[in-house]
Amino acid sequence: MANFSKSNVPQFSMDVYQNEYLPEGGREVNAIVTVTATGGGTIGSAVAAPHLYAPGQGPSAAVAIMVDCSGSMDYPPTKMRNARDATAAAIDTLRDGVHFAVVGGTHMAKEVYPGGGRLAVADATTRDQAKQALRKLSAGGGTAIGTWLRLTDRLLSSADVAIRHGILLTDGRNEHESPENLKAALDSCAGRFTCDARGVGTDWEVKEVTGIASVLLGSADIVADPAGLAVDFTQMMETAMGKEVADVALRVWTPVGTTIRFVKQVAPTVEELTDRRTEAGPRAGDYPTGSWGDESRDYHVCVEVPSADLGREMLAARVSLVVPQPDGTTQNLGAQGLVRAVWTDDMVASTSINPQVAHYTGQAELAQAIQQGLDLRKSGDVDGATAKLGRAVQLASASGNADTAKLLAKVVDVVDAAAGTVRLKAKVAEADEMTLETRSTKTVRVKK
């Protein structure tokens, strides 16, 4: 399955940022683990310039685009036209040799191209045929996203490729199947392909779209104006074409007596991974991270260790990266990070907080404050919402998260950002509120 040629696998490196010093009796160890992948088979950055792969040299990949074709896509009619154009733009971004398909989604899933349960192989001819087929797309029917995902899984698994990726576009709520059906579909697809999810317009459910991207380890975003779809689809496909290795897992080993409090991705977005652990031998567990191109991500690992005497040192966690192989073994990607605990009576050492840990603790709280604030606002709790969104403004301002600060300023009137004093705006555009909610988990890195 993972038959990627060696030259395409990027080099992974890992850096650990922590204050390893604990006071007497101290038990909680926090560390930020930065994972960076560089120098795959691409010339320069794959994400910025995927076409720089020499012909036929890119990693083998299969991509499916799921386009919402429910009745609401015709209101306004430009929505369907923009979706068609965006899909065409994404198809133009496909590298030659990549397997692909287009799925039309309503209350059921339909193969738009190439059909027959197969995938097409991208070249000039198939790209033209696919764009012809897009003209047949018409709006009509309901929305059952689980069926789209299951069809995509069947199509993608028909090819023996390294990278499997989906792009999903919806404009409405998942009304024609139960939430349980969607969840079951997501669970069966998790780990089999990655998927970016986009909501177009403002009639879709933020938690549905972010939930899909979260389980399938892709990105989620809002495209409030359908005219922006083509640019967004092109970017998404460029990123997908830059992926070089799939199914990478963060393996965390901890010694006897330790408890993992949490493991979460904290950059570029906050993604809780604690409950997604699969056991991997004695005291080790794997946390899924999906597929990687040339990119860098940060993880926050928090473990509780048994207290030891002053002067003692122990390894609190050993972090590495693995790729499961079809034969049940795993390939170790080489990079390793050690999270340590050292007990000291030097109060200056044990009470200082590592700047990276402090920063990402704040970014995680920022995401949570936005989500809680918006939920309270919807439920009519003005005081609660004001407090939470005020705290979010304060955190975004202090940490230099300018994008999130701007989005917050469209939902609240900021009186004093440093103090977190805000007033809820009387009137908020639905698109602004949904944008804030969808992008609440985006973080910025520490100012170095």
Partner: protein
Amino acid sequence: MPPAPALAPDGNDVPTGSPGSPATGVQFHRPPEPDEYPLQAPDPRVVTDRPPPAEGIKLCVACRAGRVDSDGYCETCGHAQPRERDHMEHDAGPVAAVSDRGLRHHRNEDAFSVGCTALPDGSPAVLAIVCDGVSSATRPDEASLAASRAAGESLLAALPRGTHPQQAMHEAIIAASHAVNALADEPATAREHAPHQNAPACTIVGSVVTAGLLVVGWVGDSRAYWIPVDRSSPPARLTEDDSWAAQMVAAGLMNEAEAYADERAHAITGWLGADAYELEPHTASFKPDRPGVVVVCTDGLWNYAEAAGEMAEAVPLDAAVRPLHSARVLVGHALDGGGHDNVTVAVLPFPAPPMGAGSA
């Protein structure tokens, strides 16, 4: 990762009180009470009496159940294994030194060197250097090691050439200072994520003993004491700390008790390192009229025997002929007192015994 075998080092039961899973032999939970961790490296003589557990496999000294990985941590309990510098002993015949991590610090930042040589006239000279790394600076352990080595080598080269021992001591401290300054130019190792970024620094104290002369030299607050063999004659401290407390007392602003009770007492006002204001090596020569020993030590010891009389009480009566034993006893005195700091002690007899007449 393969499961760790539950090997007992000497064939006895694994001293955990919690049977491992029979399937893997791995201990899955900790006993309710914490394990008794040995506080320092086991005595090497005890270790050699035991059969090795298995070819090439090192067992963890903390849990005695896990194997030690290539990074020096236990594969079961995660504990770091004792490092070479956690406990060091050197018996150079008439002179010996012992250094220990102590009970509160996570690494030993002290270092020493001891040696014997001959003056041009063939008479013996015995020397000891003790250094204490400054914890608030980067890589204090490297600073103390570089300084003690450089000073020791300088003395071993200068004394046989006929350099006066006091001049040789002065030059040795200068050489040690250059060695520490040179560290500031090197990049810190990747592991060192210390919150401090000061240049590496350490104290130094040394002594040279010949047939008729006792020389000491120092910078910082490590000390040398004179303890006569005949305990009815008075012992003495031979060095004057470069410390806040000592300066307060010297300036007449406080009495000794007040000064040493202050939390600033141990702030040192002189050290070796690239950021030292100006280097002022102190040296002094003595001609004792009776036999005795010189105890050269870091504050890890003298915090528990500050006055010369207290030190004399801690030094064994046969110190002049059993220097290694005496150094061990003195380290033990500091550990019994709480071992709050690294402890390093060197013991030299006066007069320097003729060559080949060292202790057994």
